[in-house]
Symmetry: C2
Subunit: 251 residues, 2 copies
C-alpha cells in the first residue's frame, strides 16, 4: 500500500489469548476491514491484562500510527482495566461518562444495576462514545485511540458503526496468482519483479496440496496499473519456464 | 503463573497476517505449548516484513523475556528477511551456515539448487540449528532468540524437537468454572477473590448460549492449593446466590 495511506496499530488485551485458551479473531477482521478503507494495519500487539504492558503498547502505537484500536478488557470484572490504562496512556483522568451511565441505567433492570456494571461507564475525560448495538455498554474514542470490546461479534458490530468516522486512503487492491512450483523456483525472478515495482507489496506463500508444491503470490497496492505490470512480469516468467498458473482476483 | 516462572515473547513476522489474508495459528499453539512447560507467554507482536519493525520487536522482547520466538520470514523469497533482522538485532554478522548448507544440498536434486534456496542457510554467526523434519531447511537459535518458520505444521514439528532444550518452570494448572449468570452479577465477588488470591490469575469470559448469559471463570496458577481455595470461594458465592455452576478441569 502507498506510503501515504493512513496507518493503524492494534492492541489486543487479554491473558486468554496469550495462554492459548482463546484464539484471537479480531486481528484478521480488523486487518481486512481497515484495508478495505485504505488504512494499513502496520503492527498488532497482544498484551497481558497488566497496566504497564497496555500503557506501553498504546503509547508506542499511537505515536506511530494514524489510528490505534484496542480490543478486550472493557467489561465489569477486576481484569477489565483497558479504559483506565488508555486514560493513563493519554494522560487524562477517568470520569463517569454521563451518557454511558444513562444508557446502562436504561438497559439494566434496577435490581441488576451494581457498581461493577456501572464501572463500564468510567472513561477518560473527553471520551467520545462508540455505540454498542449488541450489549449496550459503549466503547469510546479518545485522541486517536479507539477502545472496543474483545467479543468478536460485538466488536465487529461496533466497528461497522464507527468506520464512517475514519479517514481512509486510496483503496487497496490485491491480486493473487497461484504458481504450481516451489517458491524457491521463482524466488530470484520475484525479487527482481519486487525491485522493479517498489509501490507493490509482493508476498510469497508456499503450500503443499495433495503432494504437489505450489506458491501463492499476492500483489498489493493502491495502484492497479502497477499490480497489472507486476503480474504480467510474473506470468511471462512462469510461461517461459513451463509452470502452470491460476489467477484469482480477490479484492 | 508464578512471577518466578520463565517468560517468553513472540514475534510473528508477516504482512499476510496484518492484512487479514491469513489468520495466525502459531500464537495459540505456542501459548499452550509453552504454558505446558511452565513458561509464560507475556507478549506477542505481529509485525510487517520490514527490517526496522522486526529488529525493534526482537530487541524489545529479548530484553524482557527469558525466550523469544519468531515465526515466519525464513523462506527463499525477497520478503524473507527475518534471519538477517535477527542478526542485526543481536549485533552479529550473517554467514552461510555450513551444516545448514550441507542439509539443503543433500535434499535438493542438483538442478533444483539455486542461490535463492541456498539463502535459507544464511544465519547469524554462532547460530545453533533447529531441525526441520518436514521440509529440511533448518531454523536456528542465537542467544535467547529461536527462529522458526511461519507454516504452522512445520513450525509445530520443529517446536516439538526443540522443546526439551527449554528450561521450564513449575507446571501451570488451570481450572474453569462456568457460572450461569452475567459477569456483572459476580464481578464484585470475583474482584475480592482475586485480591485474596494474588498468586492465581483469575480471568472472566462472558458468553451467551441459546439466549442464556453465562461466564467462564478461569483460575490459573502453579499452586494447586491456591486454585482450590479460590474455586471454593467462588462456589460458596454462587451457591449462596442461587446461580448454577459447572466445573471443568482442563489442565
Amino acid at each position: 500500500m502507498s506510503e501515504t495511506n493512513p496507518t493503524a496499530g492494534l492492541v489486543v488485551v487479554g491473558n486468554e489469548i496469550l495462554s492459548g485458551r482463546t484464539a484471537d479473531a479480531n486481528m484478521s477482521y480488523l486487518g481486512q476491514a481497515l484495508g478495505a478503507l485504505g488504512i494499513r494495519l502496520v503492527e498488532a500487539r497482544v498484551v497481558a491484562d497488566e497496566e504497564a504492558s497496555i500503557v506501553e503498547a498504546v503509547n508506542a502505537l499511537r505515536a506511530r500510527c494514524t489510528y490505534v484500536f484496542t480490543t478486550g478488557g472493557i467489561g465489569p470484572t477486576h481484569d477489565d482495566i483497558t479504559s483506565a490504562c488508555v486514560a493513563a496512556a493519554v494522560g487524562r483522568p477517568m470520569e463517569r461518562n454521563k451518557e454511558a451511565e444513562r444508557r446502562l441505567l436504561a438497559f439494566y433492570p434496577p435490581e441488576k444495576v451494581n457498581e461493577a456494571r456501572m464501572k463500564m461507564a468510567d472513561m477518560p475525560v473527553g471520551a467520545e462514545l462508540i455505540d454498542n448495538p449488541v450489549s449496550v455498554a459503549p466503547g469510546f474514542r479518545v485522541e486517536n485511540v479507539y477502545v472496543l470490546p474483545g467479543v468478536p461479534r460485538i466488536m465487529q458490530a461496533m466497528f461497522e458503526l464507527l468506520r464512517h468516522r475514519l479517514k481512509g486512503g486510496a483503496p487497496l487492491r490485491s491480486k493473487t496468482v497461484v504458481c504450481y512450483c516451489g517458491e524457491g523456483e521463482i524466488a530470484t525472478a520475484l525479487g527482481a519483479i519486487q525491485k522493479d515495482h517498489p509501490g507493490v507489496d509482493i508476498g510469497s506463500y508456499p503450500f503443499m496440496r495433495m503432494g504437489t508444491p505450489g506458491t501463492s503470490i499476492v500483489f498489493r497496492s493502491t495502484d492497479e496499473a502497477a499490480i497489472a505490470s507486476a503480474t504480467s512480469a510474473l506470468l511471462e516468467e512462469t510461461r517461459s519456464r513451463g509452470f502452470e498458473t491460476d489467477e484469482q482476483m480477490l479484492a
